[in-house]
Subunit: 217 residues, 2 copies
DNA sequence: CGGTTAATTGAACGCATTCAACACGAGTGG
DNA sequence: CCACTCGTGTTGAATGCGTTCAATTAACCG
């Protein structure tokens, strides 16, 4: 069984993880339709998910309705790792999604306890890096810088080519800690300054990557 | 050798970690004066630190001078874990500090590879939780809520009693993603509303914890 | 005491938000 | 093919929260 790892791995680039391998080999195939929930906020942590196609989004809903998007998970990414026994974020299918699902115990039975720990540690580190980057983005960037940084992570690959945005403006806004209007305006600005081109709302090109990188701070 | 774990463990409460134990037993004692650097941003990750007395602060400096405080580490906390081979944050002694220091290899030699992984995983999870909480704080709280939440984490213990702030307003501001003036004003407000009392700038009481918690959102 | 750093307070500004209206595109059905 | 709708994205104008710049006060230490 061959998996097309990292054909697209914008947020949090990382090497193929052994945890991903384990889930791929020992997990069951499952599908979720757009907007279906893989697991809910506050659910018990039981299963590990490996995204095989489509995009998954994690979100946390505040009491008053404010929403924080934790991240976007692309094929090859592992979803479901948490620091504690409960999910602090819900996971939802942003597009139709195919995943491999495996219970912790199931993976452990196959790969052994020590190896499971090693693999989970590796994956947890990736998650930590993700969270730290996100923290820095929210903490010390303004709207322009946030949007620029976001576009760059969504395009970690060849420049000049056309990239697809799997998510809508609202998801971008909730990820960046901005409003949908600010995101839209900022994208407009950046386009006016020829730092990005939007053939359509969900597709973009980056004519000069270094100029965007300079902005992203 | 007995360590007074968690006499004070405000940011990111957690159970005594086995990694802490390992460092405590196999590490060397070291001291740092206020404002000394335990390690610098971009340094290679080599050593693990266990705080035994005093407080350590981690910071990341942006190109243009903006600073993000990553966290404050109290006695019992482990500093120096990172997702990658380089430190993304510097660590500085916020007060005079006593630590235990151990190299990864050193700990490994004593506790074994599997056990080291287990212990590091546990500590990495705590770090992940910290980063996620911080991300949520920065992403979906306004100034009042940030400050309220901060005071609460700095007082995870008995109410009514007096708590010490090891850090100054600038560190609080850089942790919360605010300016020093906003922090100062917000603390003033909260004091006017009798949600906190400041006998001095570095000491506070929380008369009614639940009222503050309601604010922290 | 003076000297220095940290913290507070005031006033004006500006970035992002809010509230509101409008445009666009993809389906759907007449 | 056009009309209608619904979801999504864009644009405009006004407001406000937090910042910025500036001055003052408080705390600390010789």
């Amino acid at each position: 069984m061959t998996l097309a790892y990292h054909m697209n791995d914008p947020l949090g680039a990382h090497p193929a993880s052994s945890l991903a391998d384990a889930i791929a080999h020992h997990g069951a195939v499952a599908s979720f339709n757009r907007n279906e929930e893989l697991f809910a906020q506050e659910d018990e942590v039981e299963r590990l998910f490996l995204v095989e196609s489509g995009v998954v989004r994690t979100t946390r809903l505040g009491a008053d309705g404010r929403r924080q998007v934790g991240g976007f998970y692309y094929p090859g990414d592992v979803v479901g790792l948490e620091p504690g026994p409960q999910h602090r974020f819900a996971a939802e299918a942003l597009t139709d999604v195919e995943v491999r699902v495996a219970r912790h115990a199931q993976v452990r039975a196959f790969v052994g306890d020590a190896e499971l720990n090693r693999a989970i540690l590796e994956a947890t580190r990736i998650e930590l890096e993700r969270a730290q980057n996100h923290m820095l983005l929210l903490g010390l960037k303004n709207a322009r810088e946030k949007v620029a940084a976001f576009l760059l992570t969504m395009s970690r690959a060849s420049a000049g080519q056309v990239f697809e945005l799997a998510m809508g403006r609202q998801d971008m806004a909730d990820y960046l800690g901005l409003t949908i209007e600010t995101v839209s305006r900022t994208l407009g600005q950046l386009q006016d300054e020829a730092l990005v081109e939007f053939p359509s709302a969900r597709q973009f090109r980056v004519p000069q990557r270094d100029a965007l990188e300079a902005l992203a701070a």
